[in-house]
Each structure stands twice: as structure tokens, then as C-alpha cells.
Amino acid sequence: MIFKPLLGLSSARYFKRHPWQFGLTLLGIALGVSVVTAVELASQSARRAFELSSEAVLGRTTHQIVGGTLGIPERVYVQLRMNIGYLPAAPIVEAPVRTDGADRVSLTLLGVDPLAEPEFRGHLGIASKRRAQAKLITEPMTAALSDSTAARLGLEPGDVLALNINGRRVELEIALLLAPRTALERQGLENVVLTDIATAQDILDNAGYLTRIDLIVSDPGGGSGVLDRLRALIPSGARLVETGPRTRATAQMTRAFDLNLYMLGLLALVVGMFLIFNAMSFSVVQRRALIGRLRVLGTTRREVFFLVLMEAAVFGLAGAVLGLIIGALLAQQLLGLMAQTINDLYYSVQVSEVSLSPAILFKSLLLGIGGALVAAVLPAIEAAHAPPRLALQRHELERRGRKLLPLVSAGGVALLLFSLAAVFWPGGGLGAAFAALFFMVFGFALLAPGAMVVAMRLLSPIAASVGGDIASLALRGVGRHMSRTGVAVAALMVAVAATAGVAVMVDSFRHSVSDWLGRTLRADIYMSVPGVGNLRSISPETIQRVRNTDGVSNLSLGRRLTLESETGEVEALAIEMAEQSYAGFKIISENPEQAWAAFDEENAVLVSEPIALRSGIAVGGGVTLLTEKGLLPFKVAGIFRDYSTDRGLVLMSRATFVSYWMDEGITTIGVYVLPGTDLAELRSRLEAAAGDQALFINDAASIRELSMEVFDRTFTITNVLRLLAVIIAFVGILSALMAIQLELGREFAVLRALGLTRAQLFGIAEAQTGVLGLVAGLLALPLGVLLSLMLVEVINRRSFGWSMSFEVDPALLGNALALSLCAALLAGLYPAYRIATTSPAEVLREE
């Protein structure tokens, strides 16, 4: 048996005697694991909530009829009932709404036909309450809520629920409360306002149209040909789709976003791994005499090797369990931030609770233990190869370490070359990009000890001339203990570089988005219909009044909507441009003039970068869109930059849109103003021009401000993760410094005995940590810049399809350097205090 209980007991007592070392190592693993767990739990909870809602909302639906810019005409439902024998079908009107009032709670308005529902969503529970059900159908402006949603909104049956629909206040009477029987039903009814279909149409001012028709086709592959008959029946602007793939595609929209956060979490774990490496190798160095004794007594190398790995596994297990607990708590905090981003950028999701998935917990547990084991392999090899002599001197170890230095540095260079190869690997996707990122991080980490030795050589003469012998002594101390300090510097460098890299990326992104907004928002004032979806439009009369308003020079008219394409939904903008509007779109493909000409005259479309990159569409290629005339290909005349959605945007002229979609609706007006016009006064005149129609009227500056707010909110979660990585690195450097302090106890005691004051010793210890922080910070700068370059040019492009201008703000690099220095100096305070205050007599006696 490789494991010997007494050896295990000996290890346990060793760590019990060094509680800070034990505690900091546990904390390092726990924090690393907690970040990864939290990110994954939060993103999975959000996705799961969405899937549960979809599942609950879809019920037993297998297919749906969707499409049409205004929705599906109601008559399609009637024809379906009349022509296709018996087929379960349920009409649905659905729209996101908000409560009217300060809280503005997001809700989903779901208009259903209660009589058609039981076959689809029996759980809505209406059938069991006949009288109330009848009220829902017979009395207009009545609604049902789940008991929990009602409780949250403070409503009871008979109360009034006030909604803000497209700027109008709409009041609904609560006719009944639904009591969900299962978690699925509860999730499905969460924040849903259930009404009769006619009430929903009234509220949304969309009489005669349905959002979709749900169907149950029990035998789609059967010989009855139901699907073919359905296809023949539905109008050309509509489409029959299967529900499963459609829901999955929506849930997949956040994949790149989730993956990026997960990788940031992994980076935190990598920093945590440095900590384990540091702690384990220190414990091996400190126990070199003990290990020597065990070897003399007949313990084999294998037994020593497994002993160290076993210790790491125990650390990993304990740290991972602690990490899971912290992670679950942290996930609760991240969930809000994540849901906010998903709601801002992707789809509507209501999620308030983290669902603890055993699979994720198990994976995190394995990650913690695996990470600890990987980090402990080198220290375990070092321990196993310790010769069975009794006093392998520390300087001998450092000498061996220095001999290995060229090899370690060469390993670093090799990893950097691997990183380059992974970036340029033909056809390498996001996986290759992240592999390159991690190769780069580890490559730099291996270069850190060598760089530190070089830095010490360069700094030594300067220190000696400035601070004399004591300063020189402090500096030499750092270099002499390279085996410990090297790892601490590497850990701090990785954390600081990750922070700097992400900061530069976010800054570049922010600048690009800001420039893009500045360019795109050409008009002075924008008027748009409130709410989302394809339903709303501004009346032609209103447009005419706006055009005639005093101070208005020109208008651009736009219709933003979601269209069906061959590969699923795409965002589209149909626009009738003012002369000035053309400059608002930056065409990044060649020959912009040709592109605009084709756009205006040949029914061609422009696509945004994400579509081009993801679908591999080049200029001259085509996108197939579902028009009122059926699925038709449109020629792509150019590719333009757009950050409004990572799903991609198809831009077409309004003339093209009208001729293929037969829809003249307008959702946005860009108002260009005559020189010298007072914007505030014009705004009042425009409000008057809008008349009864509730429109959002904003100037370009406030839209830009609002957009940047959303941008910053999106990156809040990134900042939280960055901060956690720095905390882990801080724990790492504290642990390394404590280790060095323990190692050098005797040396410092001798210095005290020779007459150095406490203040001088404190100064030496702090100077040493300061130098560590400075070197780590300096090394972090090139790595940070390279990481940001990789994030901007490779990861973002492959994740979201966005290109952006790469900008390095020197202030951000200065911040990173200051962060490194401060972290090191702060972490050094306690060890320095211990060094200065420990009695030299005690230390010398102990030795």
C-alpha cells in the first residue's frame, strides 16, 4: 500500500502547526473554485430559468406558426380550425410589459384562449375554476396572476394591476389567482399576466393579430401529411417551425457571453493554482530534513511522491468544498448582474434563485482537486527526488533552482510559441483562442523567475548607491530566495495582468462603442415607439406633422424588427435615410460607395459584422429572409460595424422592406434640426406633433448616455471577477511572504542580534515585498497588453463577431502597476511586523 497512515498523520500535524499556511492555501483554492462555481451556477440558473419558462409557456406544443411583421392574422387560426380536421391549436398573444409606477416591474403579458389551453398548458389551472374562468373570458380588461407574483406585487383578487403599455396606462382587474402545483408551473407563471386573447389584443392595440399559433402535431412524420397541409394553409409571411430547436437557439444566444465569464473564472482558479503550488513547494522545502529522515528510514520515492499528492488532494477537497459553499453564495450575487445583462442584451428572463446543479457542484469539486493535484506535481517530484540525506541545505536547493532556470525560461518561450500557433491555427475557433490565452499566461509565468533574477541584477547597484548596504541586503534577499519569490511574483503578475488586460479590452470596447454611437446617432433628436416587438408603428399623420414642425430640416425613418431567416431569427432595420444618415453607418468592407448604390437601387442588404463572421458571408453572398412572398435570398452589398446586438443586424432600405414585407410601419424617426434651433423648445413642439401617440423623444446625447450606462452595467460582472482574481493573488503573495519570513527567521534574528533596529528590519521586509510587487507589476504590463490584444482581436471577434479599435490607455497600465505595488506592500505588512517584533533570542534558540 502506497499510503502509510503514520505518514499521513505526520503531514496533518505539520499543517496543524502552520495554520496560516494551511488557511491561506485553503482560501486560495476555495476562492478559485468559488469563482468558477459561481459563474457557472449563475449562468446555468439563468439559462435553466429561461428553459423552464419556455417549457412551461410552451407546454405540450410541438410546432408553432410564427412570422409576419405584425404577427399572424387571426383568420389563419380560423382557417386552420376549419380546414385541418382535428388538430390541437392555441392562439397566443405575447408581449413584454412593465407595471406603471416607480417600480416598473418587468412582466410578460400572455393572452390565451382559455378553452384551447387545457390540451397545451393544463397547469395554468384555469379549468378548475370555472366561474373565474368565465369572468376572464366574458369581462374585458381582467387578468390572472400566479399567487406568488400577486403577492410580490401586493395584489389580491379584485385589485387593479396598472400596466404601462407603450406609454399608456392600462388597468386590469385581477379576476383570479393561480396556484401552481409544481416548480415548473411556478416558473412558467412567474411574472406572467394572463388574459383572454381579446383583452391582450386590446391592450396592445393589435386587434386581429396573434403573436403565434401553438400546435400539437402528434405524428409529424406520419402519413397524414398534416405538416404539408399546414404549410399550404399559412400565408407567405408566416412560417411553421418546430419549438425545440427554436427554444434551444434562443438559450444558446448567451453561450459566448457565458463562456467568456467562465474563462475569467478559470483564470481566477489558475491564480489559485499558483497559490497551491507555492504552498506545497514551500511545505516540501520546509520539510526537507523531515523528508530526508523518512527516506533514510526506508520510505521510497514513490511513497514520498504520493504523500505530497495526497496532501494536495486533501487540500483540494477541503478547499473545493469550502469553495462550493462560497460559490453558491457568490452565485446568488452574480445572478442579479447576469440576469440584468441577459435582459439588456439577449432575452427576457425572470430569475431570482440559484438552482444548485449536482453536476456543476461535482465538476467544481473535481476542478478543485484536479487543480490542486496538478499544482502539486512539481513539488511532489522535488520531494521524491530529495536525496535521503539529512540536511539538504537551502542554498543547495536555490542552486539547483538556478541551474533549472534556463530550462524553465525555455519552457516559457515554448509555451508562448504554442500560444502563437494556437492563435493562427487554421480553422481554430474559440477553443483554440482560449487555449492560446492560457498558454500565454503560463508561458509568462515560467518566464517570471528568470526575469526577476535579471531585474535584481539591474536593480542591485542602484539600490546599493541609493540606500547603502542595508538596501542592497534587502534586494539580494529577494534574489536569493528565487524558488519562493519567483512563484509569488508569477501569481501576482498573472492576476494583475488579467486585470490590466480585461481593463484595456473593456476600455477599447468602450471607446469603440462610444465612437460608434457618436457616428450612428447622426440625428439631433430621436422619436420612437415605446415597447418592443414588431407590433408598434408611428402613424403617417404623426410623421407628416413632425416633418412640418418648425426647426426640422430633415427626417430619417426606420423600422426595427425581428425577421425570420433560414437559420432562425435575425434583427433587421429597414431605413429611409436622410442625406446625413449615410455617414452614420461605417462600412468596413471594400467599396462603400458601391455598397450604398446596391443598397439603394438593387434591393441589396448590408449585414453587420457578427452575421458576416458567424455565417461566413462575404460581400456578393446572400442572406435568405422570410418575406411576405416567402423565403427569398437577398444580396449582401456590404458589411458594416454595429454593436447594438451580437446576434447581428440586417440593414435594408425602406423601399426594399415595403416591397417584400408589404409593411409601411415606422418605429423610429431621426430628426435633423435646422442650425440655430433650440433643442429644448423643438422637443416641446415635437411632443405636440406626436399628439395622442405616446412616443419616446430623446436627444442623441441622452441616448448615448443611456447606452453607455447599459454598456457599463454589462461589464459590472467582469469587474467583480477581476477583483476576485486580485484578491486571490493577494492571498498568494501574503502566503509566499509569510513563507519567506518563516524561512528567514534566523537570518533576521542574526541581523537583530548584530544591532539592526526593528524599524530597519521592518523597512528591509517591506522593501523586499515592494520590489516583488514592482517586478510583478512591470512583468504584468506586457502580458496585460498581450492579453487585451488577444481579447480584442481574437476572443471577442470569435465570440461575438465584433471587431474594435485597440487602444491602450497608459493610465490603465499605471493603475495596474500601482495595484501590484500596493497589493505587495499591503500583503507584506503583517510578515514585516512579525519579522520586526519576533524576539531574536527565541528564534535563535528554536533553530
Binding site: L9, S10, L294, G298, T299, T300, P387
Partner: protein, 235 residues
């Protein structure tokens, strides 16, 4: 007395050479050294500091390897064995006593005694009794649960002797076992070491500077100029 216990050669060194690098120079420790030690013998190895007393013990135990030559333990050449095989020989057949005791600080007195038994998978009542007997023999039964750091030097060395003998090794190697003790304590430790080794019938090789120690030995050998030769006063 020593001749009476002597049976056949247990340890035989043939043509052993060993040098160490000291900066750019090479220092010769042994130059084609030959020696043999018989079963049950108590041999003291003397010599000035740095002549290679500890190196000789390290070579015999397989901790170190000769540059040249053969080291036979019961006919098996240690120099030809792998590190693992040498470790297993050391684990089963050799006990060590050091100048600085070298107890495992994270194990109690009793656990230190149990460690060689655990490494050799020797368990059961017989061995439990042996641990108790040895603790009793070295007069530390009442300190069984103490940590080594709470014992005096003499007590620690007594634990080390009990630990070296607990698994009934054939060979006991003692490297300056009294070098870190006062004269009175040293004498008691020597008496204990000699008597306990003789009780077990093991071969005891002791590297020492102590002239008092040589009085207990069957033979006294001296290392000089890379060779092992009988010490002049006991030749």
C-alpha cells in the same frame, strides 16, 4: 567476546572508491577500500573530521553510491540495486541512530517507534508488545504520547535507539550517537545502545570520535588516507 559472536561476513566492501567535488577540485574520500563486517559484530569507526566516517555508513545503507566498487550485504551488491530496491533493503534490514537524533517531529514518541513497523507492514500483537517493551527498556513508557521536542537530548536519543531496533534489523548504523550529549548522558546512551544491540544480535557499526565508545566495541577501525585500518591502540 566479539570473536565468539562472529559468524559469517554480513557486510563486505570491495574496492570502494569515492570522491567529492569541492569547487573545481576533487577530494578523494576512499581509494579502493576493502572491508568486511561480520554478523553480530560491534565495530567502531574512528577518524578525523571529514575523513569519511559518515560517508562509509551512507554507502553501506545505500543512501549514497560509490564511484567504483561493490558493497555486499549478505552477498547482494547494493551498488547494483535501483534506488527503490536499496530503499527497501534499508527499510527492512537497517536501523539508524544519528548525532542529532532525527526523530520525526510531527509524530509522538510511540508513533516514531511505530513508523518503521508501518513501513515494513509489521502489525499485530507481537509488534505492539515489542513497542511497549522497547519503550519500557529505554525508560520512556510514561513519555509515549509526548512530542520529541518536549524530550531532553538523552531521551530523544533513547527513542532513536528504540526506533532503530524496533523492526529487528540485521544492521544498526550509528553516526556519532553521543556527539550531541553531555558525558554522563552519552555514557548511558552507549551502554543502552551496546546492550540492546547485542540482545538483538544485530551488527553495529558506529562512527565516533569518542574514545569511551571504543571501549564497548569488538573492533575499532580507523579511516586514514582513504583506507580502513585497525585503530593503533586496538590493533
Amino acid at each position: 567476546m566479539g570473536k565468539a559472536l562472529k559468524e559469517t561476513a554480513l557486510i563486505e566492501l570491495r574496492g570502494i572508491s569515492k570522491t567529492y567535488r569541492e569547487g573545481d577540485a576533487r577530494r578523494i574520500i576512499f581509494d579502493r577500500l576493502d572491508a568486511r563486517f561480520d554478523k553480530g559484530e560491534f565495530v567502531c569507526i574512528t577518524g578525523r573530521s571529514g575523513t569519511g566516517k559518515s560517508t562509509l555508513l551512507n554507502l553501506i545503507s545505500g543512501i549514497d553510491l560509490p564511484d567504483q566498487g561493490e558493497i555486499h550485504l549478505d552477498g547482494e551488491d547494493m551498488a547494483r540495486l535501483s534506488d527503490r530496491e536499496r530503499t527497501l533493503v534499508r527499510r527492512r534490514r537497517i536501523g539508524f541512530v544519528f548525532q542529532f537524533f532525527n526523530l520525526i517531529p510531527t509524530l509522538t514518541v510511540e508513533e516514531n517507534l511505530r513508523l518503521p513497523l508501518e513501513l515494513n507492514a509489521k502489525q499485530g500483537d507481537e509488534w505492539e508488545k515489542r513497542v511497549a517493551m522497547l519503550l519500557d527498556r529505554v525508560a520512556l513508557a510514561d513519555r509515549a504520547s509526548s512530542a520529541p521536542e518536549n524530550l531532553s537530548g538523552g531521551e530523544q536519543q533513547r527513542v532513536a535507539i528504540a526506533r532503530a531496533l524496533v523492526h529487528r534489523p540485521d544492521i544498526l548504523l550509528a553516526d556519532e550517537p553521543t556527539g550531541n550529549l553531555d558525558q554522563e548522558t552519552g555514557r548511558k546512551v552507549l551502554e543502552l545502545l551496546a546492550s540492546m544491540t547485542r540482545e538483538t544480535g544485530a551488527t553495529l557499526l558506529m562512527a565516533t570520535h569518542s574514545s569511551e565508545a571504543t571501549a564497548y566495541a569488538d573492533r575499532v577501525m580507523r579511516i586514514r588516507d582513504g583506507q580502513l585500518e585497525p585503530a593503533p591502540d586496538r590493533a
